[in-house]
Symmetry: C2
Amino acid sequence: MGLLVVGSIALDDIETPVNKVENVLGGSSTYITLAASYFTSKIELIGVVGNDFSKEHIKILEDHNIGLTGLQIKTDGKTFHYGCKYGEDCNNRETIFTDLNVFENFDPIIPEDFRKSSFVLLGNIAPELQLNVLSQLESPKLVVCDTMNLWINIAKKALIETIKKVDVLVVNDSEAKQLSETDNIFSAAKALQAMGPRIVIIKKGEHGAILFMEDDIFCVPAYPLESIVDPTGAGDTFVGGFTGYLHKTKDLSFNNLKRAVVYGTVMASFSVQNFSTVGIENLEQSEIAKRYNEFIIMTQFD
Amino acid sequence: MGLLVVGSIALDDIETPVNKVENVLGGSSTYITLAASYFTSKIELIGVVGNDFSKEHIKILEDHNIGLTGLQIKTDGKTFHYGCKYGEDCNNRETIFTDLNVFENFDPIIPEDFRKSSFVLLGNIAPELQLNVLSQLESPKLVVCDTMNLWINIAKKALIETIKKVDVLVVNDSEAKQLSETDNIFSAAKALQAMGPRIVIIKKGEHGAILFMEDDIFCVPAYPLESIVDPTGAGDTFVGGFTGYLHKTKDLSFNNLKRAVVYGTVMASFSVQNFSTVGIENLEQSEIAKRYNEFIIMTQFD
C-alpha cells in the first residue's frame, strides 16, 4: 500500500524582508507529499482545493507521482488562502490572513482502496479532522502526526485524543513545551511520550531536531545555510522526507529512524532555499545524497 | 611541556531562581584547569589571587595536579569578586557587581620554564593581557583563545590583534555575530576565520557547539539535561575539556578535534549540574567515559 497523506493544500502569499510572492503553492500536505516523493513512489494525497487551483499546480503534484484519487476539487469555492510576513531574520512569522474557503468544510473521505494503508501521515490540520481520518482506517502500522500551536490553543482536548492514537508526534520546541506544560524540552518529550506516542520528534529550526524513541535520544543539527529565502513549509518538508524514507525502507528500528530524521533535515534544507515548494520541486537524487553525506562528515566521529 | 593556562581566578556570588551561594570558587582559569585536569596532568596556571583566597581553594587546584608556580598571591589585596543573578530559565545572566581587586593590575608573568610551552590556553581575560602573554612565548604549537562580549564592546581593537595570533577562537553565537558584524553564524564563522584563526568554535549553550576547521564543519548537541543548577563557567569548562584532550593526545587532525569538542561538551554538562566548580571537582573517569559513549548513541548513525 502507498503512503497516505492528509493535510491542507493552500495558495500562499508570503512576504520576507527581501521579497514577496502571491498565490504560490502551499499547505502542509503539498510540502509533505513533494518531499516524500523523492523516497517512495506510492503516495496518496487526501485534500481539498477550489476552482482557483491551477492545472500547473496539479501538474507539479502529478509530475511527482502523487496519487490524487483522494483530492476533492470544489468548483463552487476557492482554495484555502493563507498570507504571512516574516521578520528580519526569518524567525518570526506573522499571519496576515487565513481564508479557509473550501477548507472550512473539508470532510476527509478516505477512498475504500486506501483504508488499509499501513503508513499514514497526518499533516498539520485540525485534530478533529485527524481523528476523523484515523477512524476510517483499518489498523495502520505507523501513524505520524504533525500539529501546530494554533490547535494547542483552540483544540487541545481533541489534539490530546489524537496524540493518544499516533506512533510518532512531530512538534517544534515551543509547541512541545506548551503542550506538556514544562519549560525543558527533554522533560517535555517524556511528558509527550507518556501521552501516547512511542516516538516524539522535536524540531528546533536552525538548531536542528531531536528524536526521542522510548528512552533513546538522537540529535541532528540543521544543514548549515548562510541565508534562508523562505522558511514556510520547512517543518512539513521535514516530516515528509522523514516519513517518505520510512515508507520506502519499512524499517522502524532506532537506527533507521535516525537516518529518516537526517533525510527529513536534508529535505527541509532544500525547501528553505527558495519560495513556496520551488526548492523541492526539481531535485536530483544526487543532490539529496550529497547533503546526506555532508551530514555524515558534519556529525560523525570515532 | 605542560598546558599553559592564563585566565581569571575569582570568588563568585551566584544567585539562581532556586538558590544563592557566596564567595565560591570561580573565574575562567579555575574552570578551565579543573576540566583539563581530567585529561592531562601537566597544567600550569598563571593567575592572581588576594589574601582572601582560602587554603581550601588552593587545595582543590593542587588536588587536581594543577601547577601553581605561576600563581601570584597578593597579600595586600582581595581576590577578584564577581556577582551575578540568573533569570527564570538560567539563560539570562545579570552582572550584579564586578570588583576587580588584585585582578585590576594583573601582570601575567610567564615563568622562564614555561615560555616554551607548546599548548597555550588564553582564558577569558582582557585581550591586552592575552597579547602580553603571547609576547612572552616562544612559538607555541597551539594557542586556544576564549573571550566574551565585554571585550568586543570595550577592547575590540586589541581583541582583533589577539585573534590574528591564535589558532583556535572560542566564542558563543551572539559574540560571533557581534564580532563579525553578521547575523548568521555560518557567515560569522567564515568571517572570524578570515581574521586569523584556522579553527573557530561557536558555543550555542543548550543547542550545543559547532567546530569550524578550514572548510569543514562539525556540530555537536549539548548533553540532554532536564535541569540546570548553575550555568556559570560552562563555556570555560568546555574549552578546558577541549584543550586538555588535545594536550593529552597531541593530535590536531579534524577527527581528533571532533573528539575534543565532544569531551568539552561532556565536561560542560557536569559543570552546570552544580554550583561553582563543584560539578567538576570529583569526577570519575568512568563518568566521563559514560557520557562520551552516550554522545555516540545520541549522534551517530550509519
